[in-house]
């Protein structure tokens, strides 16, 4: 069977599975809609969190980014996993004990203020929207590349699927579909990686293959360093960015991860505080499987790409190059007319342009794997995009129905609240789909900054709310605003107002806009502490609540008090 038939079969089968699960687990109450009834096992929640977390970008683009960035790509690997340590140790167990449904819920109660809650809702909505638009776009791209339908149609089909199970099933439906999606995506990622690792290094475990040796006995990484330096590129294993910048970007990504509302909310779905801790551990195990494989896929990919093209006759290039040339993801241009491909660092003489997404999307073809593996990778990429989109849509609908509607109209009935949540989810799907079809130019850039903004706004306020009973609402509100405004201003200045001076010598202390969230976070903390010191302590009831959430006993199910 050809690639297209296999892709239709595998993508179709996984979609049928997701819809089946959604019908089977549909939500009947607000509690089921918001937190899956609070009865999800730590293992299932860990898997769902991993699928929720790993987006189309993790699946499709991350390995390719590392291929071209080498050591500098470590910021994503450490940043997007290290955040789970912070989440498990500093946030998840306490927020679970607090026992409500959303992050703005916590901020509103802990800082006894509607203003603080509204600021938190706005942050949550902003972060989730920028993120979800990127996911819908990812769904569209996968559809158009593999199923040969226009991107717009791809987005619409993706919207219908997400609409179906997010609106119908709420958190309960999403959780169990995410478990299935995790299995699909990890299988799809590992199969080509294992085969390529075998072919190149003889070791079936990609994590070991990366440190292994090629057929001629030279270690892969040493060979890669040599090949790249010869072509005029920097060494694969050494950094090109400044150390301060690497440090700050990693920190911003870690803290941002721990502050993302769609990740935090997953820890409200388990029965106990104990389960929240354990479930963060499982989540990181499931994430680490992909994140330790990605650097191997990255190095194998760039090695294979150079090896099969550099100084080769254009007429004798492997078949996958001409396949992907059709999608413009690979471009070959014989500038000096010698009939061979020169891949070099100097853009004026370089004849080969490779899009970063190739490293994962074309990996089955590069490794000459059977056609069904190509279909599997397509299904895996869809699973990654859909699971993240669904998790984000839920945060958006919860924010609207619960954090906005219920704050101002506390008397609405549960049935009505559930209906509003579903309407909000539907609205969010349509809006996200619109942005997927007509992406505003800034979406891709803003997604990367969602982390910095989460780091600079949520994280310090939640941490201080748990670990200090003295921080009050004045401190929290001014901290969030200072952190957010500072980070946003720095990013807007360098990315949109004066992009021409967005270079290391103009940045403050060599910190790029990607890493500035770390500074925003520190400012937020300082302002929060200083302002709290000069304003009255929080009321006794709030201080008691802080003592209460520090002790696991008596968590019970997430409740509505």
């Amino acid at each position: 069977m050809d690639i297209l038939t296999w892709t239709y079969i595998l993508v179709g089968a996984t979609f049928a599975l997701y819809i089946g699960i959604a019908i089977w687990t549909r939500a009947g109450s607000t509690k089921e809609f918001y937190v899956a009834g609070g009865g999800v096992s730590p293992l299932a929640n860990g898997m769902a969190t991993a699928a929720d977390w790993m987006s189309a970008a993790s699946f499709i683009s991350m390995a390719g980014i590392i291929s071209f960035a080498g050591y500098d790509g470590s910021v994503y690997l450490m940043g997007w996993t290290g955040g789970y340590v912070l989440l498990a140790l500093l946030l998840a167990p306490y927020l679970r004990k607090f026992g409500k449904f959303t992050v703005p819920d916590f901020v509103g109660d802990r800082y006894y203020s509607k203003t603080a809650k509204i600021v938190a809702v706005i942050c949550a909505l902003f972060i989730s929207f920028t993120y979800v638009a990127g996911q819908m776009r990812g769904v569209g791209i996968v559809f158009s590349r593999y199923l040969e339908v226009p991107i717009e149609w791809g987005v619409v089909i993706g919207m219908c699927i997400v609409f179906f199970y997010a609106v119908l099933g709420g958190m309960k439906g999403i959780t169990y579909t995410q478990v299935a999606q995790y299995c699909v995506l990890i299988f799809a990622y590992m199969v080509p990686a294992i085969f390529i690792s075998m072919q190149l290094t003889g070791n079936p475990i990609p994590q070991l293959g990366l440190g292994g040796s090629l057929a001629d006995g030279t270690p892969l990484l040493e060979k890669l360093d040599g090949v790249l330096t010869e072509l005029g590129f920097a060494e694969y294993t050494s950094g090109r960015k400044g150390m301060t910048d690497i440090f700050m970007i990693t920190l911003a990504l870690m803290v941002g991860t721990a502050g993302l509302p769609h990740v935090i909310v997953r820890f409200f779905t388990v029965p106990k505080v104990k389960d929240a801790r354990l479930s963060a551990g499982y989540a990181l195990v499931f994430i680490a499987i992909l994140y330790t494989t990605a650097p191997a896929v990255a190095a194998f990919g760039i090695y294979n790409a150079i090896n099969s093209t550099s100084e080769k006759n254009i007429s004798e290039l492997p078949a996958w190059i001409s396949t992907w040339q059709k999608t413009d993801l690979i471009q070959v241009e014989d500038k000096n007319g010698d009939g061979k491909v020169q891949y070099v660092a100097d853009p004026s003489t370089n004849e080969l342009t490779i899009d970063r997404d190739i490293m994962v999307l074309a990996s089955p073809e590069i490794a000459q794997l059977p056609n069904w593996v190509v279909g599997l990778v397509a299904a895996g990429a869809m699973a990654a995009a859909l699971s993240t989109a669904a998790g984000l849509l839920l945060v958006i609908s919860t924010s609207v129905s619960r954090d906005l509607f219920k704050t101002f109209k506390p008397e609405i009935s549960e049935k009505k609240e559930l209906r509003i949540a579903r309407i909000a989810a539907a609205g969010a799907v349509i809006l996200a789909g619109y942005f997927g079809v007509n992406p505003p130019g800034f979406v891709a850039q803003v997604v990367a900054f969602a982390f910095g903004l989460a780091a600079a706004s949520f994280f310090p306020v939640i941490i201080m709310g748990i670990f200090s009973s003295r921080i009050n609402k004045e401190g929290a509100i001014s901290g969030m605003i200072v952190g957010l405004v500072f980070t946003l201003a720095y990013i807007i200045f360098f990315k949109f107002i004066s992009p021409e001076i967005n270079t290391a010598e103009h940045w403050w202390f060599g910190i790029s806009p990607e890493g500035i969230g770390s500074v925003g976070m520190i400012l937020n903390l300082l302002v929060c502490i200083v302002v709290s010191k000069f304003t009255p302590a929080p009321p006794q009831s709030v201080q008691d609540m802080v003592q209460e959430i520090r002790i696991p006993r008596g968590a019970g199910a997430a409740h509505d008090h």
């Binding site: 450490m78 290290g82 167990p93 994590q207 440190g211 292994g212 505080v273 551990g281 006993r553």
Partner: protein, 87 residues
């Protein structure tokens, strides 16, 4: 001060000690070995890996996983010891 609240203070103190130790290791393997000390460590080899590079792209992630499970184990023990566990 009541006996109970003194006990809770001791529980919290032990919790904070655990956090401090685990977060120091967290910082050391990622920001320490993977970023600040990456160049000196790169002169040491681990199979085909330079050690600093290995910490940045592999090792730190493995340690993160271990840290969370150590935390889970340690807190479950503390919860029982101070009788604040949930079952």
């Amino acid at each position: 001060m009541s006996n109970q609240s003194q006990k809770m203070k001791a529980y919290w103190k032990k919790n904070l000690q655990t956090l401090t130790v685990l977060l120091l290791i967290w910082f050391l393997v990622s920001f320490g070995f993977g970023v600040l000390l990456v160049e000196p460590l790169n002169s040491i080899y681990l199979g085909g890996y330079k050690l600093g590079f290995w910490f940045a792209q592999q090792g730190s992630i493995y340690v993160f996983v271990i840290l969370i499970f150590v935390y889970v184990w340690r807190m479950n023990k503390l919860d029982k010891e101070f009788d604040v566990n949930e079952d």
